[in-house]
Amino acid sequence: MEKTLTYFQEKKQKSEWITVVSILVFILGIVLLVISGETTWIMSLGLVLAAPGFIGIIVGIVLFNRTISKFKSMYLKDYFSTMIEEGVYRPKKGLSQSEVYACGFIKRADRFKSYDYLSGRLDGIDFRSSDVHLQERQVYTDSKGNRKTKYVTFFKGRVFQFDFPKKLDHRLQVLERYRPRDGYKYQKVDLESMAFNKKFNTYATDSHTAFYVLTPHFMEALMKVEKNHPGKIGFSFFDEHMRFAINNNKSTFAIMPFRKIDEKLVEAFKEDVEGLYEIVDDLKLNRNIFKEE
């Protein structure tokens, strides 16, 4: 494992150096072009430096992305498959649109992108998840009066789907600054806990379902999940699934330039997955006492 990490780190470092040196050469070339004036040899030198500098930047970026992609598809894929029972990691795939919108509180996007798919079984509970990036189209008029279009991100985070031990005929949503968007007739429900009502808005198509799912222990566990996962969070419960989404403006398995690929990085990813085990345990999703054999 260590050797493989070193291999990817060396390749990543090489691509970063190519990019940095190319940027410097490109800047030097541009400076020479600007100050060359009538002097032909300075202009030529500027061109000779700027052109390969530009190509070097492209090559560096391509090599960087290729290395990250290989690290994910080769190293992380194997790592997660050994760490999680029936673990499947697909860096370039994600949850489908229907799976994401099944949450019931995520607005439909004009641009949909999902990646870093991770699924498996945690403590006997099946889960599926992926990073999701959603953008909406906005038309605006610039200072010259021209109508222009831009895409604005309104959701960037992770969406999860877990098996839920209670079978629900009605729908329930526990939302932090979201609202139901799936077209069903919800009623707002106030639970006994003031702290919970302050943190979340609870919507259910039937009040009994809200009280059935949200036991005092479960409310505390949801508050703990919210506390451990900063960002705008929402939970939905229907049929035999619990879905939740965290809009935290993060890509879970992103590797930034100059961040070392080493045990520390892998440990950070491991902690993310261990956080999922904690969720299963805290919410007692693994307590299948209601299901008949």
């Binding site: 006994e192 009040s207 009994h208 009280f211 059935y212 036991t215 054999e293």
Partner: protein, 187 residues
Amino acid sequence: METWQILLIIIVVLVVLIAFWYIGTMNGLRRGEVKVSEAESGIDVALTKRFDTLSKMVDTVKGYTKHEAKTFENVVKWRKGMPDDLTLEQKQEFMQKLNQVQADINVAVEQYPDLKAEKVFTNLQHSIADVEEHIQAARRLYNSNVSMLNSKIVSFPTSIVASRIGMAKKPFFEAELEKRADVKMDF
């Protein structure tokens, strides 16, 4: 416009506003009362389901235990299920009796390991666990609605409307009811 005319308009507007407020408050209280009744029906449904599941459990247990346990005599007495016209207090009493039956079943089951392993019985145990969660949910929903209605009933000026329409505070459905000698139930 004359002063008396302005005064008359103000009085009419005030009377209309008070009338609207009165009707609105009354409807709000009535809606609260309906919610409490609906939640109470939820308790009935859950209690009936628990009774049915417990009866099935007793039938299964009886196949193993040949002696006539007190448990089973109790359930036989309740063959008709939960009566329709029980007061809330009697429903709480009924729930306590079901708790006792279940405790007796658990004691009986401990003596018969084969019964514990039987699929039908384990499925019934899963069902009863789920039914109990439903009872707790129904109880909490009922108490939550009662709490909201009661706080309206005692708050001024809603209390004026409540007393005018003869609405009194509703009792809570307690999880554990102390045994009361004066409540008798014959099923």
